[in-house]
């Protein structure tokens, strides 16, 4: 019995070993299958899961003014995100994260409880917050941090509509940030790296495939000081007249460079997303308005270029007149309560006589006037570099009825942008040669070499030099003795023209009652103009006269900017005149005394 039992046990033990061997060989076979036959498959898959390609972020270029003062720069920030699947305790995590980010716990918890696996908890935060998150990473599974940069605008609201701003992805969203995005953003490079289980990059495995090319720096034609002067002047104006909007453009007529371009109201691009998008609009460039009397300059310049003498009487103004089936009236001030009387071009500009301008337009004819409007650039899209330029609007001349032609003579029944009007005055200031306005002065590579320099735009002669000189004289007399007197700058010779245009109704039929666009445009000094300044005020309250509302702004900008640019004064200032007067009196007194003595 016992031996039989022993025999059985021995047999069974041997069988058992065979059974175990079988199990082990089977598992070993499985290993061979996985590690030899399927090796490449799993290896490739593993690498795909472990390895990630990341961009080497290119630094966005800086935006400078013409003197190298920064308008848009980058600062280091951190963005915090969460992979909700990896979070173990949502309420605990949200309390901790909320404390670190200084946000509301409930908001964070709501985000973490959302359906999305990947959520941003905070974007472009202070880099120090990122450091804190990084230090606490072991207590915060599922919460990650990504370093990036953020655009800030050190000058705040200054030139906000020109510069614009970027979105969270550091891509230009508005303004030149958007238009020049391809220049500014540079090219991201690429690196691959393996990730650990927390999806963090293992630093040693970082392998750069391609280096980043940093974005180029952009230098604007803007002068920050003049821009500041301009915005300040608009702000003061706004306090007085509470316009719906206002804008001003300052340009160097010789080169077409825009030294300042301001819009009121404005916004702070550092907090752009919290402001109304209407404020982002660069109205000076993108909004059309009826220029009104400031356009009489074009009519006059055209007539002068056609050889009509500025002293030839072109109309007899009685204040109102039926012309070509329509009604044209003049605004009459003392001493012209009964009409401007016999009007020549000088008087037409000085006193802003609509009837005179209407007759002049009729005399020139539709085709001719139209060709001058076009030559002055009012009907072509300006290529100043803003990317949002609007084109002036005017019917084709063969569709004009005579009354339309008469109206266009003094700037109603058509629409242009303030920038285009600035161009008109710059052309006259430049002796009849039109230079395309521009906002970008230079684009430089990161190493300081010039990538693209913007030469003064193509120059085209619009009117003869003589005609331009004559127009200048008309405009000067307007400021010296005419309606433009409030635009006079002490110690400077100034040429300019006022405008108070009615606002066309949105439906295009007639004009709104009691709303005006007040404007003033001009340049100084007259003999060698350095600055063209255009001020357009939309629906001011209290007064609607260009002379009252816009001219003081022109004077303010002109006076300060010319002083800043160290332009020597070209005419005796009031004080000097007084001194000279006193001197003369003194000498006269002495000579009388001498004779007497």
């Amino acid at each position: 019995m016992a031996s039989r039992q022993r025999g059985l046990v021995k047999k069974r033990t041997t069988w058992l070993f065979l059974l175990f061997s079988l199990l082990y060989v089977a598992v070993a076979g499985r290993l061979v299958y996985l590690q030899v036959i399927k090796r490449d498959y799993y290896k490739a898959k593993a690498e795909r899961v472990r390895e990630r390609t990341y961009p080497v972020r290119a630094t966005r270029g800086t935006i400078y003014d013409r003197n190298g003062r920064a308008l848009a720069v980058n600062i280091d920030t951190a963005s915090v995100f969460a992979n909700t699947r990896d979070i173990r305790d949502i309420s605990k995590t949200s309390v901790r994260v909320a404390a670190l980010l200084d946000q509301d716990t409930n908001v964070i918890e709501e985000k973490l409880n959302g359906t999305r696996h990947f959520v941003w908890l905070g974007r472009q935060l202070d880099a120090r917050i990122g450091d804190r998150i990084w230090n606490e990473r072991n207590k915060l599974p599922g919460v990650g941090m990504q370093r990036d940069t953020k655009r800030i605008y050190p000058a705040g609201a200054l030139a906000a509509q020109i510069v614009g701003f970027t979105n969270y992805e550091n891509q230009g969203a508005e303004g030149l940030e958007r238009v020049l995005n391809s220049q500014l953003q540079g090219k991201n490079g690429k690196f691959t790296a393996e990730l650990d289980s927390e999806r963090r990059v293992i630093p040693e495995t970082r392998h750069v495939l391609k280096n980043a090319e940093d974005g180029r720096d952009v230098y604007l034609t803007i002068d920050m000081t003049i821009q500041h002067i301009t915005e300040q002047a608009l702000a003061e104006l706004a306090e007085k007249y509470h316009p719906r909007s206002a804008c001003a453009v300052v340009m160097d007529p010789r080169t077409g460079e825009i030294l300042a371009l301001a819009n009121y109201p404005t916004y702070d691009p550092n907090n752009a997303r919290k402001t109304k998008s209407a404020l982002w609009r660069n109205r000076a460039v993108a909004d059309l308005y009826e220029p009104g009397s400031t356009l009489k300059t074009v009519t006059a310049a055209a007539a002068l270029n056609e050889g009509i003498s500025p002293y030839q009487v072109i109309a007899h103004c009685t204040g109102r007149e039926k012309i070509a089936g329509g009604r044209v009236s003049c605004t009459l001030h003392h001493p012209f309560q009964n009409g401007h009387g016999g009007v020549d071009m000088l008087k037409m500009i000085q006193q802003s006589c609509n009837i005179g301008a209407a007759h002049l337009a009729l005399r020139l004819g539709a085709k001719k006037l139209y060709s001058y409007e076009k030559a002055f650039g009012l009907l072509d899209k300006p290529h100043a570099g803003f990317g949002c330029e609007a084109v002036g609007y005017m019917d084709k001349p063969d569709q004009w009825r005579p009354i339309r032609l008469a109206n266009i003579g003094f700037g109603q029944g058509m629409a242009v942008t303030p920038l285009q009007m600035t161009g008109v005055y710059a052309t006259i200031a430049n002796g009849g040669v039109r230079v395309e306005p521009q906002i970008v002065r230079e684009i430089k590579n990161r190493d300081g070499t010039t990538f693209r320099a913007f030469k003064p735009g193509k120059a085209t002669r619009v009117i003869s030099k003589d005609a331009a000189m004559s127009t200048m004289r008309l405009l000067k007399s307007c400021v010296d003795v005419g309606t433009g007197k409030p635009g006079k700058i002490d110690g400077r010779t100034v040429a300019g023209k006022t405008g108070s245009a009615q606002v066309a109704k949105e439906n295009g039929r007639g004009y709104e009652n009691g709303t005006f666009i007040a404007s003033f445009m001009g340049f100084a000094p007259v003999m060698s103009p350095r600055l063209v300044i255009a001020v357009v005020v939309n629906r001011p309250q209290g007064s609607h006269w260009g002379a009252t509302v816009a001219a003081p702004v022109f004077r303010e900008i002109g006076e300060k900017s010319l002083w800043y640019l160290k332009v020597p004064s070209d005419t005796p200032s009031n004080e000097e005149m007084r001194r000279q007067e006193n001197e003369r009196k003194r000498l006269a007194d002495r000579s009388i005394k001498g004779f007497a003595g």
Partner: protein
């Protein structure tokens, strides 16, 4: 009572294999854990955190092994009953929330100060001791089905069931498998064994169908990419590790997947080993375990007492089964169950209990020539019914109808 025989020399093969596996274990534990512990506050940012502890466990385990290898059969028989009772009580207690320590929803541990005790580890050894005693004492029990099966089936079923409920399917599987193998070794009828195997397969199938989460396990096993960030996550990265390793491996410490595998230093340590030293390393390790199995079964075969034979078969099965189940899980050959790799995986409970098993094997190897008298077994009975069973006539009376029926 006989005079106790002198103990023989312990089996050098078993001893050598265990020591080699221990050394491999400490190295692999360091390798698989340093990157994580060096970055973890709970480990005081200490890259050696786990390796140091594993080394301590190994030393403690060696001591325990040496100690147990001096145990005589009589002593082992004597402690069996209390071990079984302790196991069952602890297995019940660990399920009580607040008493047991829960990790990932599983009640598997007791926290005794700094030490974590896993009752299922003790239960494994207790089951082997119990069954070895039972089968050798009543040899005929295994040859026919009778009412006497109820007791042992209830006890083993209770232990396995409690462990299964923790839930710790892997350990439950090891225990049931070991019981089956011991039944086989004890000389059970082939048709009984076959029937049992069939029944077990049916039960497993039923269990899988009934519990949706088990079904989920099976699905994930069949295709881990169904849930690559959830249940399939660990197994996917384990497969990645094996694949990346290839034949020769990527080199010690150069493995990457250990960063992804949550249980890289415990249940899935084989994945790291296979990634870093490749198929060659994996097969050599399997060979080492098979060698241990061979030595263990050889001890069993040469053992002159049935008790020694069954004991050796039992502890060998535990070690051998657990190793093969572990590697099968890591290689996605069977659904994930979570069994540590004996002597290698990080963890004090598992390591010490495996060392105790090896100690029992060594104890058997030192008592190969002991022929255990049945009388001795009766005197140290394991089920508390010593008095009644002491009557030989009674035993004969109970067994004779069976035999007659058998002969009919």
């Amino acid at each position: 009572m006989r005079k106790e025989a002198k103990l023989g020399t312990p089996d050098v093969g078993v001893l050598g294999a265990v020591v080699v596996l221990l050394i491999v274990g400490v190295v692999m534990v360091f390798d698989a854990s340093y990157a994580k512990t060096g970055d973890a506050k709970w480990a005081n940012f200490d890259t050696w955190y786990m390796a140091k502890r594993q080394l301590v466990y190994a030393v403690v385990g060696l001591g325990a092994m040496a100690w147990v290898s001096t145990f005589r059969f009589s002593r082992l028989i004597k402690i069996t009953l209390s071990l079984i009772c302790i196991s069952i009580v602890m297995l019940f207690a660990v399920m009580i929330p607040g008493v047991g320590h829960t990790v990932n929803g599983a009640y598997r541990w007791f926290n005794l100060g700094p030490i974590r005790v896993q009752p299922s580890e003790i239960a494994k050894l207790a089951t082997v001791l119990y069954l070895a005693g039972l089968f050798s004492k009543r040899r005929r029990l295994v040859r026919r089905i009778s009412g006497e099966w109820v007791g042992p089936v209830v006890i083993v079923g209770c232990i396995a069931g409690l462990i299964f409920a923790e839930p710790d399917l892997g350990t439950a599987m090891t225990i049931v498998g070991t019981a089956y193998i011991m039944l086989m070794a004890a000389g059970a009828m082939k048709r009984h064994l076959f029937g049992l195997a069939t029944g077990a397969c049916g039960l497993i199938g039923l269990a899988v169908l009934l519990e949706p989460y088990r079904m989920q396990r099976v699905w994930v096993w069949l295709n881990p990419w169904r849930d690559p960030y959830g249940d399939g996550y660990q197994i996917i990265h384990s497969l990645f590790a094996l694949g990346s390793g290839g034949v020769t491996g990527v080199g010690l410490c150069l493995g990457r997947e250990k960063l992804y595998i949550p249980a890289a230093s415990t249940d899935f340590i084989f994945a790291t080993l296979a990634e870093e030293i490749g198929l060659i390393g994996g097969v050599v390790l399997l060979g080492a375990f098979l060698f241990l199995v061979y030595r263990g079964l050889d001890i069993a075969r040469r053992s002159k007492s049935t008790y020694g034979n069954l004991l050796a078969v039992g502890v060998t099965s535990i070690i051998g089964l657990q190793a093969v189940i572990n590697v099968a899980v890591v290689s996605a050959s069977i659904p994930a169950t979570g069994v540590p790799l004996p002597f290698i995986s990080y963890g004090g409970s598992s390591l010490v209990s495996m060392m105790l098993a090896a100690g029992i094997l060594l104890a058997v190897s030192r008592q190969i020539n002991v022929e255990l008298e049945e009388k001795e077994l009766y005197e140290n009975g394991t089920d508390g019914r010593r008095d009644r069973r002491a009557h030989i006539s009674g035993r004969k009376r109970r067994t004779s109808p069976a035999r007659s029926r058998y002969r009919r």
